[in-house]
Amino acid sequence: MREIYGHRPGRILIFILALSLIWYIFIVPFVVQHNNYLFLGWVPLVVVIWNIQTIVWLAAIYIYTTKYWPYR
């Protein structure tokens, strides 16, 4: 963790991941309540958000660990 927090790209990564985690745990459960929207006519909102969350983490981790991670 020190190796990640010790430089600017690492701090940006931690900020993005922390923000998305808070959003996922504490905001999404309220946002999706009683929402009948279906993306493409069959994908519920909670599933759309779940996918976006996973893709954000995948992209952030991929960029950081291939370009900036001290242990790369």
């Binding site: 963790m1 020190r2 009683h34 929402n35 983490w57 660990t65 242990y71």
Partner: protein, 504 residues
């Protein structure tokens, strides 16, 4: 069908026996596969240690009952936190100090053998419900597909998993998981298209419209039973976010060949989860409610099997049972190994650094037998539906060592008093709240209150008591970081050198 299931069992035991033949008979080889697992095998080993019977039956079954909100539990993204933020130090400690389990890491990092034993007993105890799920899944699947009594599948599962793990150890289990993972993925992903095609489902949006007409709330949150209100959903999301600290997931960090293996496996897990969980929720939320309507409670656990039996030829139904057995075995085998390691390294032979390899392996096998016996007992008592047995009992239990585990790696100020107080309070609160006095959980998901109390006590008691010694701090923080940087820099230089030579 029963013959093909029997043949699969023989094949897996043979793979295991081959793994035994290749192993060096040392404890590090038996428990850690010689710390040499590469990306491909580690991916299958870890992903299919997580994706088990509950992915095949419990996940679609619970979505079928309660709607797509249950997907919040399946958060694979926190695994990136484990493998990128925590994994390197665990991996380095295994390589540098020869540690054989994450609990041993905590015992030495917190300078307490008693804490090591306590944590190992807690984690061993919460492995039972999870192991029980596997036997239940196979029992229910075989019963639905062939009509044999439920206990036949449960006992078959128990015998097979003990044979594979006790004979072959980690290396064999990792290979077996690759084969089982491929069977599982093929059936789970390919059969959904086939079932939909045979049932005349040509448009998912049309199917979704019919499902919402048949059962209002099936495709929204809080779901048809109003189960996923914000309070419950927050708890479910927290439970999902703590999956990375399941002991049989963590142990992969100490068995990987290199840090690069962990990094690449993280990408693979996140990318594959998009496909795999996508298929699982479509099974549970759209396909099965339309094709096999009207099931309730634990009956929905076998809904995927029922849809396949109804719309596909008999051999596909038989293959699905094989896939469920594959799913169950890949998880159970990994869990059994971890249970065995906890019993030998962290409970019976704790503190005995001179313990012989044969002693370690023998006690591991005894621990595995005990774990299988406990899981069978649970399979026959079957207290609740599969998905909830995992999300409400096993997962909150594993989460109770999260503060001590993460703190051990990231927070030098954390000490044994904080870790012991937090974990003990969390586990006691979880057990009393789940089984005797639900009022203690304040209406939240079972994970929330025990974890918050646990975290508070860990931090408060650690700050109020004396820190760990300077030597231990240096050993588990400064020395590991230096070693990691040096090792990785050397490796990068070697790679650059080879690349330069190739280009010139």
């Amino acid at each position: 069908m029963l013959i093909s299931i029997f043949i699969l069992g023989i094949l897996l035991v043979l793979i295991s026996a081959y793994g035994y033949k290749l192993s060096s008979r040392s404890a590090a080889d038996y428990m850690m596969a010689g710390r040499s697992i590469g990306t491909f095998v580690l991916f299958f080993y870890v992903y299919f240690a997580i994706s088990s019977t509950w992915t095949f039956y419990g996940f679609p079954g619970t979505v079928y009952n309660s709607g797509p909100g249950f997907l919040m539990f399946f958060a694979f993204f926190p695994h990136a936190f484990l493998y990128i933020f925590l994994g390197p130090r665990l991996w380095a400690a295994g390589k540098m100090y020869g540690l054989l389990s994450p609990v041993q890491y905590l015992g030495e990092r917190y300078e307490s053998k008693s804490l090591q034993v306590m944590l190992a007993i807690c984690m061993f105890g919460f492995l039972f419900p999870y192991l029980g799920i596997q036997s239940i899944g196979v029992g229910a699947g075989l019963a639905a597909a062939t009509g044999v009594p439920y206990w036949v599948g449960a006992v078959y599962m128990a015998v097979l998993m003990i044979l594979i793990v006790a004979i072959g150890g980690t290396r064999a289990v990792a290979w077996v998981n690759v084969l089982l993972g491929l069977i599982f993925s093929f059936c789970f992903i390919v059969f959904i298209f086939w079932v939909a095609s045979n049932a005349g489902i040509t448009s998912l949006s049309e199917a979704a419209r019919k499902v919402t007409e048949m059962r209002p709330g099936q495709l929204s949150v809080p779901g048809p039973l109003n189960q996923w209100e914000p309070k419950n959903l927050i708890g479910l999301a927290i439970a999902g976010a703590t999956v990375f600290c399941w002991p049989h997931v963590i142990i992969g960090t100490m068995q990987a060949k290199s840090i690069d293996v962990m990094r690449r496996m993280t990408y693979g897990m996140l990318a594959f989860s998009l496909l795999f969980c996508g298929v699982a929720w479509v099974w549970g939320a759209i396909i099965t409610p339309l094709l096999v309507p009207g099931l309730k409670g634990t009956a929905a656990d076998a809904v995927v099997q029922m849809a396949i039996t109804k719309y596909l030829p008999p051999w596909a139904s038989a293959m699905t049972v094989l896939a469920v057995i594959a799913a169950a075995l890949s998880t159970a085998a990994t869990q059994l190994l971890v249970a065995g390691i906890f019993v030998s390294r962290d409970i019976v032979l704790v503190g005995k650094s001179s313990a012989k390899d044969t002693q370690l392996i023998t006690w591991s096998r005894i621990g595995m037998l005990a774990a299988v016996a406990g899981s069978l007992w649970l399979a026959f008592s079957r207290p609740t539906e599969l998905g909830l047995m995992l999300s409400n009992i096993a997962s909150p239990g594993f989460a109770q060592w999260l503060p001590a585990f993460v703190g051990a790696i990231l927070w030098p100020r954390g000490n044994k008093y904080g870790a012991a107080a937090g974990t003990a309070a969390g586990v006691i609160l979880l057990i009393i709240g789940n089984f005797f006095c639900k009022l203690l959980l304040l209406g939240f998901h079972p994970i929330v209150v025990p974890l918050v109390v646990n975290l508070f006590l860990y931090v408060a008691v650690s700050l109020a008591t004396s820190p760990i010694s300077k030597d231990t701090r240096k050993k588990f923080f400064d020395d590991l970081d230096k070693w990691l940087l040096i090792t990785q820099t050397k490796q990068r230089e070697q790679i650059n050198k080879v690349q330069n030579q190739m280009s010139s």
